[in-house]
Structures are given as C-alpha cells and as structure tokens.
Symmetry: C2
Subunit: 144 residues, 2 copies
DNA sequence: TTGATGTTGAGAATCGTTATCAAAAGATAC
DNA sequence: GTATCTTTTGATAACGATTCTCAACATCAA
C-alpha cells in the first residue's frame, strides 16, 4: 500500500540529501511500495516499462538503493542469488517462510525466537546487528 | 578434520555413480574437509594451486558439487553473493553467527529455536524442508 | 594395449548488478 | 521565462561468481 506519507518521506529524503525528484523515481516508488511484495529488480523493471518505456536497469537499481537508504524498502538477498525488494514494514522486523515450489513468500514473526537469537548473540560475545531467517518448505496449496 | 571414513565415503559415492577417481578430486577433498572451514571457491582454488598448479575453476566447482551430492560438504549461500563450503557435520544441523567486521563464522545450535521454527512451519500449513538462520553482529575481538 | 568413457583445463558464456559518460532534465537565481 | 549549475538518465561496457563447451587427456576393464 503506497501512502502519501511514503511519498512525502521519499521527497523529504531526496531534499535532505540534495537530490532531485523525477518522474522515473516516482514510478519506481509506486511499483515497489504498492501491491505485490518481494519483487525482483527485473519484475520492477518490467512493471515500470509499461508506464515509462525506455527506462534502464541502472535507474531501477539506483532508485532501489535510494529507497533502501530512505528506509522505505528492504532488500532481501535470496538463495537463488537474485535480490527481492519489499516495502519496509513500519519498524516491525519479520522473517520469511518460502515455498520451494511456487515461490510464495509469507512473512512471519516470532518474538520468542527473536529473544533466543539475542541470547545466542550474547552467549557468544557478539554485539547484535541484524539477522536473517528463512524457512523453506512446501505451502498448503502446493502440498495438495 | 579429514578422516579415512570421509575418503572412503567419497570413493564409494564415485563408484556408485559410475564416476572415476582422480588426483584433483582428492586434492580438493583434502582442502575442503580438513582445517579451516567456510572456504570460498576462490580460497579452495588458491589452496589446491599450491599442490596442483594448473587446476581450473571448473574442476573446483564440479568437485564441490560432487562433494555436496555425496553429503560430505555443504554449500552456504552468503549475503555477499559468494558461496562458502563447510565440512558436513555428522547429521547435526547448525546455524551461523557471522562477524560483520572480520568475517568470522561461529557455528551455533539452539534446539528451542529449532522447535519454534517447526511450529512456524506448521502454523502456516507448510511442509518443512530446511531453513537458514544467520546472525550478523560484531565479535568479541572486533568490539574492542 | 586398446577402446570406451569420464575428467580436465582454457576460455567463452551467463546473469545479476554496478560503473561510465555524454545527453537530458530538475532546481535555482535572475 | 531564461540561463546556469547540478543531478539524473539510458545505453552500453564492465564486473565477478559460477557454469558451459570442447578438444586433449586420464582412468579402468577386458
């Protein structure tokens, strides 16, 4: 869901960094923050093409980086080596359940696991920064 | 630690698949299964070079695939996009604590987390296959 | 030793992503 | 609105890890 708040946040970020606003950046913002989640750069590229033919991959990647830096989107480095991008949920960290047959992504959170992860960091003398947890399996639909 | 058992297991696997034994494969087996863990293909390449100059990357990758298929080694797809290979521990799954400063890998296991992960699979109607958990932080040495 | 088959190494190809750079477009001052 | 200064853009080349191709070579059974 793309909100005015997100648009404003992006504009504010650009202004703050001395960057400029452009048609292309708005198009990419709209595609990434609305609708389907976990899009690859290629999917975003194809989507933007429809409304803005001629756009290049470089612009897609550059804008995705900006969106990440602005905290509006998160890059997921997936096992297949292709990055996917999702709308940054409001401060709520989550992990992913991924169907190995259809590629479906389900977002999950488990506060207990989060606590145990923190404990692992501490027990090993690590200063926690972030973590990544992906659960691969076969979803209900694909099991049938 | 490279054991005779591992060597035998690799030979058995090759025989079973109708494949042949070679000097290069033995060299790679020794490098990967002994000593330092979590080597990249490039590190393995450089190590094998010392004892067997002229070896090519193709052979490294082909042999790594064989070792994985034989269940002797595991490929880790890391966030930096470079795969690392570790000696497959005897049936014991483990996750990783990774220092973002020095790259140190620490293997960790938490049975409670494993249970909670299984619960997440079930609660979402997924048939569990495997998972990946990486905890990124700064290790004791690098904190100083 | 020979023949059939699997393996090797050099180099090309792949593919997602990033860098380069001249042309185009925003922002700002006038 | 126009001039001017930046920044942005898109085409294309470059990158780096990994895989493919293929002719030369090694292995093994008979």
């Amino acid at each position: 869901m793309l909100t005015e708040k997100d648009k404003q946040a992006f504009q504010d970020y650009l202004t703050q960094e001395g960057l400029k606003f452009s048609e292309q950046r708005m198009q990419i913002l709209e595609i990434v923050l609305q609708g389907v989640k976990h899009l690859t750069a290629n999917e975003i590229y194809k989507n933007v093409q429809k409304r803005h033919p001629g756009i290049g991959y470089a612009t897609i990647y550059r804008t995705l980086r900006l969106l990440c830096e602005a905290g509006l989107c998160v890059e997921l480095k997936c096992e297949d080596g292709i990055c996917r991008y999702e709308h940054a949920a409001d401060d709520v960290h989550h992990d992913h359940l991924i169907c190995t047959k259809c590629g479906r992504f389900v977002e999950v959170v488990d506060p207990q696991i989060e606590k145990l992860q923190d404990k692992l960091f501490k027990d090993n003398g690590f200063l926690p920064q972030r973590h990544r947890m992906e659960l691969y399996g076969i979803c209900r639909q694909c099991k049938k």
